[in-house]
């Protein structure tokens, strides 16, 4: 297996799908590399800075037989296209009674930690989860990024691919060949027995680092990555919590109405899982402020490994470990 970066894996995913299917086209204000050299200017569209029309064009072209990949660049810019995301993309199939499919993929970077301050450090996937009608992927490794994006492009529904900025340069092994990761399947990134950490995107690797450190203290942490937020693989999450009896959810979005809140609710609402919880669920999320610029302030706003470790200690303190 090759080691490639998260960013490279995403570019490979789009290029492979464009090679595989002539109906895949891509639109963005800019591209990494020069995809037009291989695929031509008809299928690789450099666009005006017009997020609303791009987002809607993705739908219109998808409903007319193509598979557009629309890149918003940063999720921040998708807010300029709110009508097309909220009123159109998430509802168009259902409100027309399933007459047509809309196989469009929207890509964007997400998350903080890059010194980009309030607007360009957001993690608003739960806003899109709330809409009921968009599939949402949020990978944490280069292999998952590639496999999920390829599956997203082949999916017959609007899918939003949230691509964590802090992971762009991270390298990892990616299987050769036509590597697909199905939508809606979580992945247990580390097996453990005492505490389940459900972590998202960048915080999967942070949770794994904390798990490694805590192993030295005799604490066995299981790290689960949902990978897809819609549809959520709730069975894998519940199975892990039923095994450990304790849950910490880690994400860099603020906790209010967040993916972390949804995960906590999905665990707590299930009678069988609730019945074996040995401690209250903990969420480790960003402080609810616009992400600030200055490094000490930004670090204070976003979750840290120390925050994760403290949360693990707390859920263990709330109830003794099973021997």
């Amino acid at each position: 297996m090759r080691e490639i970066t998260f960013q490279r894996a995403l570019e490979e995913a789009v290029a492979e799908e464009m090679r595989r299917d002539a109906r895949v086209i891509t639109m963005a204000t800019d591209f990494t590399g020069d995809p037009a050299a291989e695929f031509g200017p008809a299928r690789v569209r450099y666009t005006p800075i017009s997020e609303a029309v791009l987002t809607g064009m993705g739908l219109g072209a998808a409903g007319s037989g193509f598979r557009p990949v629309v890149h918003w660049r940063m999720v921040t810019f998708s807010f300029v296209a709110m009508d097309q995301v909220v009123n159109q993309a998430s509802k168009i199939r259902y409100m027309f009674g399933g007459q047509a499919n809309f196989p469009v993929t929207y890509r964007c970077t997400t998350g903080g930690g890059m010194g980009l301050a309030a607007q360009h450090s957001q993690s608003p996937y739960s806003m899109w989860m709330h809409l009921a009608g968009l599939k949402i992927v949020l990978p944490s490794t280069p292999a998952d990024a590639k496999g999920l994006l390829k599956s997203a492009i082949r999916d017959d529904n609007p899918v939003v691919s949230f691509e964590c900025s802090r992971l762009a340069g991270v390298s990892g092994a990616v299987p050769d060949g036509d590597h697909l990761v199905p939508l809606g399947v979580a992945d247990v990134k580390r097996r453990g027995t005492d505490v389940t950490i459900v972590a998202l995107a960048y915080y999967v690797q942070e949770a794994l680092a904390v798990a490694e450190a805590l192993a030295g203290e005799g604490i066995s942490v299981e790290v689960v990555d949902p990978r897809t937020l819609v549809p959520m693989d709730v069975e894998t999450l519940r199975a892990s919590v039923r095994k450990t009896g304790r849950l910490v959810v880690v994400d860099e979005a603020p906790a209010t109405c967040s993916a972390a809140s949804e995960i906590a609710a999905l665990i707590a609402e299930d009678p069988e899982t609730f019945g074996v919880l040995r401690a209250p669920i903990r969420r480790v999320c960003a402080v609810p402020v616009p992400v600030p610029y200055s490094p000490p302030l930004e670090q204070a706003a976003l979750p840290s490994r120390e925050d994760i470790k403290v949360a693990v200690y707390e859920v263990l303190k709330d109830s003794p470990r099973r021997i």
């Binding site: 064009m57 409903g63 007319s64 007459q99």
Partner: protein, 321 residues
Amino acid sequence: MASDTPQLLQMLRTMILIREFDELAIRLRVAGKIYGAVHPYVGQEAVAVGVCSTLTVKDRVTSTHRGHGHCIAKGADIRRMMAELFGRVDGYCKGKGGSMHIADFAVGMLGANGIVGGGLPIACGAALAAQLEGRGDVTVCFFGDGAAAEGEFHEALNIASVWRLPIVFVCENNQYAANNAVGVQHPLTDISAHAAAYAMPGVKVDGNDVLAVHAAATAAVSRARRDGPSLLECKTYRWRFHAMRAAIPPETRPAEEIAEWTARDPVARLERHLLDRGAVSPAELEKLRAQVAADLEAAVAFAEASPFPDPRDLLVDMFAD
């Protein structure tokens, strides 16, 4: 030029059908037989018919909240439209959309839309698909004067011009954006003036003259098939209210203005044209109107015979498999 009698009679029939469909929809809403909101197209029939009579079934259109006329003119089945208004399973959207979301992808009607300006980006995407397919199909995007104040209008015209998309932007300037007069919403009351900023032809036409609309649309569609986009502004007037729910809202527009526009009835105008040419007799017109009435009666019967959706199917159509 639409000059042959069979085509003109077909256009007249469609205009009468659109008018009577929406007058019936108003009565059905008042009677509580249908739900939600109704936005009647009455008075604007020449626009939908004049434009859609220049299209093939492969050409696509996007519509607005006031969309029944576009559906009928593009060839949708009034029985399935009526069933949708009744919220029944045989409606175009299986009862999930209602008046504001009727679509018939099989005839290239890509959907009404509850958001002013919301259809313009989608229309550009359909036009991009047609451009990539290279078969000479076009997209027509219907919208009102109100949409010209939306950002999506400007984004759409800009990109359509830059990419020379095969699209015709048809502005139905019915003089009111919801309940606000065009003159207090725009510095220029000619929406077609915007075309110059996007380096495309902007044409203004009497939207109550179906022959004039047809001729202007023929030129714009022909240009779209070969060269790229244009903006066609049809000056017209909605005879009825902007929207109703349970009750018909009070009229707020000046009585003289309403009288002036209703005197320019697009249906009566085409009827006169055909009668003056001897292309149709008064008796034949009566027959045509009777046939429309019978078709609408059959559509209501079809809708009423169709079952309501099963609540157990609530989640069907959320996602494609």
